[in-house]
Amino acid sequence: MKASLKDNAVDFSFVFPAVLIFSIFYIYPFFYSFILSLTNYDLIGNFDFKKYYVGFRNFQDIFSDRDWWKSMYNGAFITFWALTFQNILALILALAVDKVIRLKKFYRVVFFILPVLSEIIIGLLMRQFLISEPVGRDVFNHLLTNVGLGAMAQEWLSGDKVRLVTALVHCWKGFGWAFVIFLAGLQSIPEQLYEAARIDGANAWRTFCKVTVPLLMPVITLILVLTILGTMQAFAMILALTKGAGGETTVPVMIIYFHLGNRFAGLACAEGLILGIILVAVSFTMFFISKKVREKYGVLPD
């Protein structure tokens, strides 16, 4: 059956709106971003490539810019905590909830409240909760004192603790999301496998190592990749919580955001490109590794 030209045109018209928007907002900016990154365009006046052209200066600047790499470090620091603390907590919670019969639904609903709310709400709320006089009211410290932990009271959002506190708030907001995916993964493991392990006389830990972890491997790698991508792009929560804390919690997107706000459009574009390339490279590497791991365990995704 050979389709006529008219048929083709009719069929194509179905995807036309999508393609149109896609070209304007993805493809054009994609190339535009390379062009902009070679200029020092300030967003005032009309864009004239020749007039604003500066070569690869923006990229050179970024590579030797300590603030930029510091922000990458801060991002990596938070990512590290998210990868370890957040995901392990989520896995433990998922295992626990998978075991209990009562209140299962309640836990699932409650743990997932935080991912539903916006980063700004979480950031502003925790700022009010943690920040001390005279900006805030030291609520958390008062709470600690009230329960007899007054010795722990300190300034949570300044000095050398602020980065860790930011990372923990980030984990707090994100663990519910990892939890739900882990739980879905756990529930998809057939009961017979556990049954078989029990008959073989395996204890709980052995069952976990030999049955749960291998079968959960695709889910685990997926969560790792998404955690890295998501955390390296985190921004709004940190802005609302600490405003960057004098460089201590400045993350890459924040730098891009502020450079764009100060109309260093070319520089911001170059930074965006570098961040983008790094993230794409990281996620490809992770997918490659995860493929290897899955092959090793003999579990391939369907």
């Binding site: 393609v19 409650v110 743990f111 502003l124 707090w172 459009a265 993230l279």
Partner: protein, 279 residues
């Protein structure tokens, strides 16, 4: 037998204590937030919101919603979310239907282009989008809705296409024999069939737009256009020392979502994790 039973009960108690304490850490800050929002600044200065408000004092809400015009931010957010989601539903279901059922040259290439776009980290791409919108004088509403539509498009097309692929074609064949055009088939047969998948698409994108901050904070050039998230940020900067007002504002922004979420948790969880499960 009794020994194992006791052991199991202790185990369950430990488990539930652990789970409940984590659950409390998720809920308590919001109780505190709502509690503070009913206090006066003086009361808050005295007890830090750690004791229960004596009565429901709506003064803060009145100030936030009416005097500070939070209703406008709220309506803006509703409007943007609504329109964007509607656009996405129409455009992506049309495209997904075509990718699944129809044939035209370059179909696969275009589809893979959409897939590849999902790999591009979005926050890194907001600079050229901003420059572009500014160049075409598309700042404010139109530009924002279009840019947000684009953001949700790839993933929605992918979700819907996989759903279409799993559906039997009998109904469509019957409709074709009845003389329906392709558009009619999409509208009359296709769309009703994929309603469950559309639900996921709607929730996923609605939350995305509702919670979006970066682009919104860059491209709106007037207070009256701003959505809730940017409004919150502006508001907390402007009235930075009125803590109880900020708490009322946060409650106004958070509570509707929490209520909606509790009423439709299944769809919410599916909607948010949909993005993850695509990868």
């Amino acid at each position: 037998m009794g020994f194992f039973r006791t052991k199991k009960i202790i185990f369950l108690i430990v488990l539930h204590t652990f789970l409940l304490s984590v659950a409390l850490s998720c809920i308590l800050p919001f109780f505190w937030m709502i509690n503070v929002s009913f206090k006066t600044q003086q009361q808050y200065d005295d007890d830090f919101g750690l004791s229960l408000a004596s009565h429901l004092n709506w003064e803060n809400y009145k100030t936030v919603i009416i005097t500070e015009q939070f209703w406008r931010y709220f309506l803006n957010s509703v409007l943007y979310t609504f329109i964007t989601v509607l656009f996405i539903v129409f455009i992506s279901s049309l495209a997904a239907y075509a990718f699944s059922r129809l044939h035209f040259p370059g179909k696969n290439i275009i589809f893979y282009a959409f897939l590849a776009a999902m790999m591009i980290p979005l926050p890194a791409g907001f600079v050229p989008v901003y420059a572009l919108l500014q160049q075409f004088h598309l700042l404010n509403r139109t530009g924002y809705v279009l840019a947000m539509t684009n953001m949700g498009l790839s993933i929605s097309i992918y979700l819907l296409k996989t759903f279409f692929d799993q559906l039997p074609r009998d109904l469509e064949d019957a409709a074709r024999i009845d003389g329906c055009s392709k558009l009619q088939i999409w509208w009359n047969v296709g769309l009703p069939l994929i309603t469950p998948a559309l639900g996921v698409v709607v929730i996923f994108n609605a939350l995305n737009v509702w919670n979006e901050f970066v682009l919104a904070s860059l491209i709106f050039t007037g207070d009256k256009y701003m959505p809730l998230q940017v409004g919150l940020m502006q508001f907390s900067g402007k009235l930075v020392t009125y803590h109880t007002l900020i708490m009322a504002a946060l409650t106004v922004a958070a509570l509707p979502i929490i209520i909606l979420y509790i009423r439709m948790q299944k769809q919410f969880i599916k909607g948010i994790t949909a993005g993850a499960l695509v990868g």
